[in-house]
Each structure stands twice: as structure tokens, then as C-alpha cells.
Symmetry: C2
Subunit: 228 residues, 2 copies
């Protein structure tokens, strides 16, 4: 059961008091539960968050270019970040979920938490407008804004490597999984990156194929640039 | 040369008067030209537009689900639509472009026009806030909002077909270009769509491979659903 006290605690943490409590209730109701659920609010909140964060990045990084701002924003609005914010607000304890989701631990799932956080922002917007959402986001993101730097807006190693090679009319890198080890939920992948034209190859490892590729690409960039 | 009069005419058409004219000038300056260009403003304007349109769709379609609103928004913010709005505002005549872009007719290019329109919205936001941008977008999109209906939010035929087949555990459709005719800039493609499990095949045509595939998928849906 959702507790009145817990909803009060949430609003106090947000430093925002809802005029219309049904909006707050709806934001915390997953599609799997009965009654008005939060999917439409999530759509709204997602678009508000994207705008508020864009405007803030524009302000705090007057020299960032469009690509850098786009990459910084992606970090701030990705599911993992939103689920972190949702956890700081203990949204999981407040969610209404249907039986199936409840049993399978849906209140801990990043996608459900992140959606609920976006829906909460949408609800605040409907309840009292852009300015209130802006204040709430500013306060929740304060520490994240402070940790940001333009160096975090660099392209990922695979993109960097590809652009570097393309800019020099060299053949593109190839990635191949050479082996993997461990159980499904705890697997390690090894990937070999080869640049045919340069006659170079590197190996990277990671907990997913993608991570292993990025690691191999990173090493390739280092080899090419510094010859080590 | 950009004319003072033309800038006045634009502002009158927008029903918005800039306090800071340098923002207006910057919004109309492509990266290829000298001076402060519009890429950062475009980033800002893009996010504002996404939010304003989302909020509007939320309001005018109280029964639309998240997916429908997402697809309707995509129609309203895609490059082609934005370039149309930019053309209604004659933005092409007002753009500052570098020599290369000027020669190659950049002022007519959809991507450049669409970017300039987004930058204009970003400039209005910086000049006087969300409310002003909202009014400008509302007025420019009025006729487009009126033409919208939920039936336009349907998924495209290929997606519909795939989901229909997946929902019935049937094998997925295959698409194959069977022939193409005409010059590069005016080519017609024929694509055959085959659903192995159902022992059916249809043919579609279009000015691109994608369009021909959609047409073939549309016909396949009709065959499957209505047996014609």
C-alpha cells in the first residue's frame, strides 16, 4: 500500500507540493496496475526533461558545440541516470504495479523507475507549469551538473577510430569476438580489432560485446596515435 | 545582402519582435558563413520544439497513447515539415551562407532550412522565454494541428506487418528488389514481399527502395487481412 506519509516525504524531497494529488498518484502508477497509468505523463515528462537539460547545458557550456551538448545531454537523460535519480527519490517504494510486475521485482527495474521519474516531471508540469519543473530538475541534477565537463562529451572510441581512419582514407576497422567466458548473467567477452591497411590489431575485453569492442578500439587509437 | 525590411517582415509574420537583434541575425547564419553561426541555437530550438509539440499533442489528443503521440510528433518535427514552415517564412532568402553553400543552392536545402527554423525558435526562447516560443509555434502550426488525426498515428505498413506476423508466431516477411528503372535522380523500384509461412507474395513500387517496400508490405497486409 502506498502511504500518505511516503508521498509527503517525496514531495518534501522534491521541494514541490502537488495541487492535484491525482496527478502524483497517476505518475506513480505503472501500466500493469489498475486505473489511470503513467505512460502519457512519461511522454510529456521525457520531452520536458530533454528541453530543460538542453537549456541548462546551453547556459553552463557557452563554448560547447552542438555535438558536445548532444552527447552530454544523452548522459544526463539515459535510462541508467534517470533510474539513479528515481532511486534517490525512493520511487520504487511508491510505485503501483500489477501482480506480475510486482512478483518479478518490477519496482527495481531501471526502465520502470526511469519511466516513473519522467512521468513525475510530466505531472509537475501539468500541475503548475514549466517553471516548477525547471526548479525540481535543477535541484535533482545539481550535483550531476557540477560533475560535468566538456571532456566527458568526447565521442566514444569506436566512433573516434572510425572518423580518424575515414579522414585519412584508410580502410575501416573490423571487430571480431574471439572468445567469451562465464555464465549468461556474468559473461566476459574478448574482441579483436583489426585495421587492415595499418596491419595492426588489438584486443579488448568487457562484460558485453559492445564494451569489449570499445575497449579494443580505445587501444587501437592509442597504438595509432602514440605507437604504443 | 540581408535587408532590414525583410527581417521586419519576418518578425511581423512571426508576430514576434526581437529585443536583441543579434540573436535573430545569428539564427539566420549558417555555419559556412563568417561570424557567430546558428548551430548551438538549433540544438536549443530543436529541444524546445519537441517539448512544445509534445505538450500540445498531450492536450489535443486526450485519448492518444504514448506511441501514437510519438508518431504524430515525429511527423510534425521531421526535416521535411520544418523546411516547409521555413519556406512559408521565406527563411531561405534571409540566410547567410558561405560561398560554397551559396553556389550550390544551400538556401534551398531542406536540412539548412530546417536547422535555421529550429535556430530561430532557440533565439526567440533566449530573447524572451518559453511563453513567446509557444505562441510562435502555436500560430505557425495551427493549420497542421487542425489536420492531425489519430489515424495518422498508425504504424507504417512494414512495422504493422512485422508485428502482426510476430504476434502469430509466423515467419517474418522478406523483401527483395526485383528491378529498378530510370536515371539516378528519378528512379523507380519494384520490391517483392514474401511471407514464407503464408505462401503469399506481393509487389510494391516507389521512388525509393524503402517506399517500394512499404507499398509491398501494405498490399501484403491487405491480402492477409481481407484475402484480396
Amino acid at each position: 500500500m502506498r502511504q500518505h506519509q511516503a508521498l509527503e516525504a517525496l514531495q518534501s524531497q522534491l521541494n514541490y507540493q502537488f495541487n492535484d494529488n491525482t496527478l502524483l498518484e497517476q505518475a506513480l502508477t505503472h501500466r500493469s496496475a489498475k486505473g489511470a497509468h503513467n505512460e502519457r505523463l512519461e511522454f510529456l515528462g521525457d520531452s520536458i526533461l530533454g528541453f530543460i537539460i538542453a537549456a541548462k547545458l546551453f547556459e553552463i557550456f557557452p563554448n560547447a558545440d552542438e555535438g558536445q551538448m548532444t552527447r552530454l545531454r544523452a548522459k544526463l537523460v539515459k535510462e541508467k541516470t534517470l533510474a539513479e535519480v528515481a532511486n534517490e527519490l525512493s520511487l520504487g517504494d511508491l510505485l503501483s504495479l500489477g501482480g506480475g510486475e510486482l512478483k518479478s521485482g518490477g519496482f527495481r527495474r531501471a526502465s520502470i523507475l526511469s519511466d516513473a521519474f519522467e512521468a513525475l516531471l510530466g505531472a509537475i508540469y501539468l500541475d503548475s507549469g514549466v517553471k516548477s519543473v525547471n526548479q525540481v530538475i535543477d535541484s535533482l541534477y545539481q550535483s550531476r551538473y557540477q560533475k560535468l565537463s566538456l571532456s566527458m562529451a568526447e565521442k566514444d572510441p569506436k566512433t573516434q577510430l572510425q572518423e580518424w581512419l575515414q579522414g585519412r582514407q584508410k580502410s575501416l576497422p573490423e571487430y571480431e569476438v574471439t572468445r567469451s567466458e562465464g555464465q549468461d548473467h556474468n559473461r566476459t567477452y574478448w574482441v579483436q580489432c583489426t585495421v587492415a591497411g595499418a596491419n595492426l590489431s588489438t584486443e579488448g575485453q568487457g562484460s558485453s560485446r559492445r564494451k569489449a569492442e570499445q575497449s579494443a578500439a580505445q587501444k587501437m587509437m592509442e597504438q595509432i596515435k602514440h605507437g604504443n
